[in-house]
Symmetry: D2
């Protein structure tokens, strides 16, 4: 009954390549009939949300704030957690798959939490930031697998295809 | 773009009247094209979720747990917050309207939080518990309004009708 | 090794009787060599903290905010949780004993959480608010005991005496 | 009135050098009359706590759990947050200074959060893990300063000396 839940994490100030990557992933997630979950704000989060919603997808934005106002306009559902950046832990707990684009400090907390919670992670190494730094590596020895290195959008889509089988 | 978000709170062990009330409200929320948000577990939460999903509605379950496993089977989206019962604060922050059915200690925290956050609240006084005790009252003097007393399902539906205008 | 931890909850705008009650309890907690834990802000929290600190006690203030600035000046240790009022859950989880003075919506969430977590609760019924309303009652049937009704400071001190045995 | 609060973060399974480093830092923190705050569990947290408590220091353990039971025996005060690993955010928010020893995924979330919240950070690069990887670097460009690289205990103590001026 539950939809597959794809969590996209990344910068709140996206570069062009980050924004277009996020948008394309949002589109693909929607076409797969998966739900897109993100931090609900600007940059990567907004671009992914827009891609999904413009293609009939469902977008859940999980905000650090305690009001709806801070959400980008492409969220179907907004959850103002009111718990500040402790919500980063929750974002990735909601994932069947975590996809990382670029990424600064906030994204780094989410990558480390995703690793902690045993979530499969795909990092878009072509988008810079912590995604590039950590793609293909292990955060520590507690897991056998690695953060998958997606060198292109095509490799991200392949991971999403696997999830729909 | 954002859907109206109706948060239904109540016992995890529902009596018959609580379960049927929750179910009927779930149905009505779905018919209105609103999203139903609940705690994701059994009892009132499950009955409301079932009512919504069986009528094409969207259900978000916000769990205290850190895995999907504890969710009832009628959630379209499951958010395992991993923050325990601190999630009660978040549940009501997600609301355009809070509807309370029966209710023990957990529901009482949610009623008090909903009051704190300025959320409109409708309490089904015909379902017992803290809904009955607090319907028609103020939790304190910080608000001018009251927790609305719904004496029947019809009065709940009227509140939902107002929300869709 | 761990000190006994007394959590005092109550209004952030204290009446005179609430403030003096909180102060006296703070003094007694310090004399017992217990630690005083509170929400770290004004009103009841500040008065209790002052009573404890002026008598050599240790005070932990657990703030909803994410900076030290909002704390009252009588906290030995300040924990800016950054999780907003979801911190109400944490406040009472820290308790060996919860003492309630007056109380509006926030205190009500804490009373309900304390009940939920199985914490012993003493409500100062002579200080009004939710302490008066709930003293001597059960929040629901999940516990056999009641919220103890302290009719006077003396009865509060007796509870603290028991804890030191 | 508030004590200076030193937050020590690091592995819950400490190597010998990590444990002895943590212990020595705990001792020094206590001698400075600062409070030691840690995650309340084993490994680095426990060694630091033991060092502090054995020298008359005050130790606050902030647990992910919702009961006192999981705390190590060297905590003067135990805060069972009940919010799981979202508590990592809180740990570093409590800091006047963050000191990092070794470190796996959990420590990495704390380093990133500490950076996010503008906290001064000293990483013991001689203890391996994420402390070694991030010492002397910036997590992103949002801050001008760096994570300070402590090559020896002496350099950690110098930072603590500065804090007491």
């Amino acid at each position: 009954m539950r939809k597959k839940q794809i969590v996209v994490i990344g910068n709140h100030n996206a570069t062009e390549v980050q924004a277009s990557t996020a948008y394309s992933i949002g589109v693909y997630v929607a076409k797969k009939k998966f739900a897109l979950i993100c931090g609900g704000r600007g940059g990567v989060m907004e671009s992914a949300a827009r891609g999904a919603v413009e293609n009939g997808g469902l977008v859940i934005g999980i905000l650090p704030d305690d009001t709806f106002a801070a959400a980008n306009q492409f969220c179907s559902i907004v959850l103002p957690t009111g718990i500040g950046y402790a919500r980063n832990s929750m974002n990735v707990l909601a994932a069947d798959l975590v996809i990382s684009i670029g990424g600064e400090k906030g994204t780094l907390t989410e990558l480390a939490y995703a690793w902690h919670y045993g979530k499969p992670i795909v990092a878009c190494s072509f988008t810079g930031g912590w995604s590039e730094k950590l793609a293909g590596t292990r955060i520590d020895n507690s897991r056998e697998d690695i953060i998958k290195n997606a060198h292109s959008l095509k490799e991200v889509f392949q991971e999403l295809d696997i999830l729909s089988q």
